[in-house]
Amino acid sequence: MAMSDGGGSSVQVSGVSKQYASEQGTVQALADVNFQVDSGELVCIVGPSGCGKTTLFRILAGLEPATRGEVTLNGSVVTEPTPNMGIVFQEYHLFPWRTVRGNIAFGLEKAVGLDGTDRDQRVQQLVDLVGLAGFEDSYPKSLSGGMKQRVALARALAIDPALLLMDEPFGAVDAQTRERLQAELLDIWQETGKTILFVTHDVEEAVTLADRVVVMGRDPGQIREIVSVDLDRPRSRGDAAFGSYSEKIRSLIEN
């Protein structure tokens, strides 16, 4: 694969807080969130709904500002969406007027400035990487949820970002598809060496994927603990060790 492996990077989240003004007064969505992600690491952020993980995702992606604190990617402060970061949303957000090929090529045309046969080759590599060969000319409307998410992933990977930032990317697909996508993501991660930050509410998903799990709780949204998952991959949900990690994280969330 011709992915550059300079894809590793480190993310530093320092003292990030977020407050909203609402009718009931000020809401503290995030309180003093600190963690870092090392180059090539796969980190999951897990927490119940309302713990501010989507807010944290949006701040990480540069989609909204933090009230206090900052996020840096390889030393530079993130203030707006940047091609250094590939973003994958739960709802795919594919460009419906572009085919699979056109969606994947989008960032190559805009951010990388690649065109002609170089672009076509790169698109084909990515199509193969996410297993969509044969669907290059399909429009998103005729794809299933799992396929749409593969396109979104390939589109984000196309620009060879330093960090892949994913917000509940497999939350909208059925259970079997989700497990297959998780396995594929791990393959792609190992193949490309990307740094991945993955937001989910699914504890098992976090334990399946992550090197480390950032466990968040709510009221206010803050980190309860960061759990390192020392299990060989592929991980099996039936394992006793897997179960004890899940239980530990669940009890952290519920406390």
């Binding site: 091609p83 989008f106 805009k110 969509l132 697909v173 079997q176």
Partner: protein, 268 residues
């Protein structure tokens, strides 16, 4: 891999539109029945009315043959087209451009909102005085009236379409390296709003055919002028002939436009 593939199928014509090629026989059959029924009722009603109130279809057919034979129809059509085409194109272009610009930029929108709201309710026909003063009694004057009509329809359709473009798509595009407003408009906003924009253009085209008649009131030659003259002479059969000419022209243009629209919006 990729076994969760939805059955790929040809795009269905779910809103009852005709397929691009080949005509739905059942619909065509029923349509013919409806048309025959309409003409039958017309004929029946005409039996009890003098021709200056309602001429029978046969009388209208005779008038149509005479008008075509004398070349009057083609002349009038040629004249109307000379202001219909520039009026429609200019009004549509400016309307889409203004709608996209104001739908995108809240600054421009805030600045122009009072002016837009003041001008919006002005009927194109109220501007005939300006058409004459600025352009004269000629094709340009009539095109002006037609363009005003096309402008507002396209302005609001495009404005609404752009307002409805999802912020998430814009975020994705930004994260993929599109950073200027102009580039975002070109790569995301216009394609995303194209269904609304294209529907607006279609509505505008229809409205412009109607305005052709109105725009010729002040003396510009064409089909509308011909209708007004025939009305004054109580030649109802001639009036109906030209109304039918307008209808057929509209039908042709609209059908051609819809074929283009379906092709452009094949991704929907």
């Amino acid at each position: 891999m990729a076994t969760d593939v939805q059955q790929e199928h040809a795009p269905t014509t779910n809103d009852g539109e005709l397929p691009v090629l080949g005509i739905d026989r059942r619909r065509a059959g029923l349509g013919t029945v409806g048309l025959a029924g309409f003409i039958g009722v017309w004929w029946l009603a005409a039996l009890f009315q003098p021709a200056y109130v309602l001429p029978s279809p046969a009388v209208v057919a005779e008038a149509a043959v005479a008008e075509f034979a004398s070349g009057e129809v083609l002349i009038a059509l040629g004249q109307s087209i000379q202001h219909w085409i520039p009026g429609t194109i200019i009004g549509t272009t400016l309307g889409v451009a203004a709608g996209v610009a104001l739908g995108w930029s809240s600054l421009l929108d805030d600045i122009s909102s009072p002016v837009v709201r003041t001008l919006r309710p002005v009927p194109p026909l109220a501007l005939i005085g300006f058409a004459i003063a600025w352009f004269g009694i000629n094709h340009a004057g009539a095109a002006f009236i037609i363009a005003i009509g096309a402008f507002w329809i396209n302005f609001y359709a495009s404005y609404g379409g752009v307002e409805g473009v999802s912020d998430d798509l814009l975020d994705v595009a930004r994260s993929l390296g599109v950073d200027s407003d102009l580039a975002l408009i070109k790569t995301v906003v216009i394609p995303a709003a194209s269904p609304e924009i294209m529907t607006g253009i279609r509505t505008g085209i229809g409205r412009c055919w109607m305005l052709v008649v109105a725009a010729e009131i002040f003396g510009v030659p064409g089909i509308g002028r011909r209708i007004l003259r025939a009305s004054n002479n109580l030649q109802v059969d001639v009036v109906i002939t030209y109304i039918l000419v307008l209808s057929v022209m509209f039908l042709l243009v609209d059908t051609a436009y819809r074929a283009v629209q379906r092709r452009v919006l094949v991704w929907r």
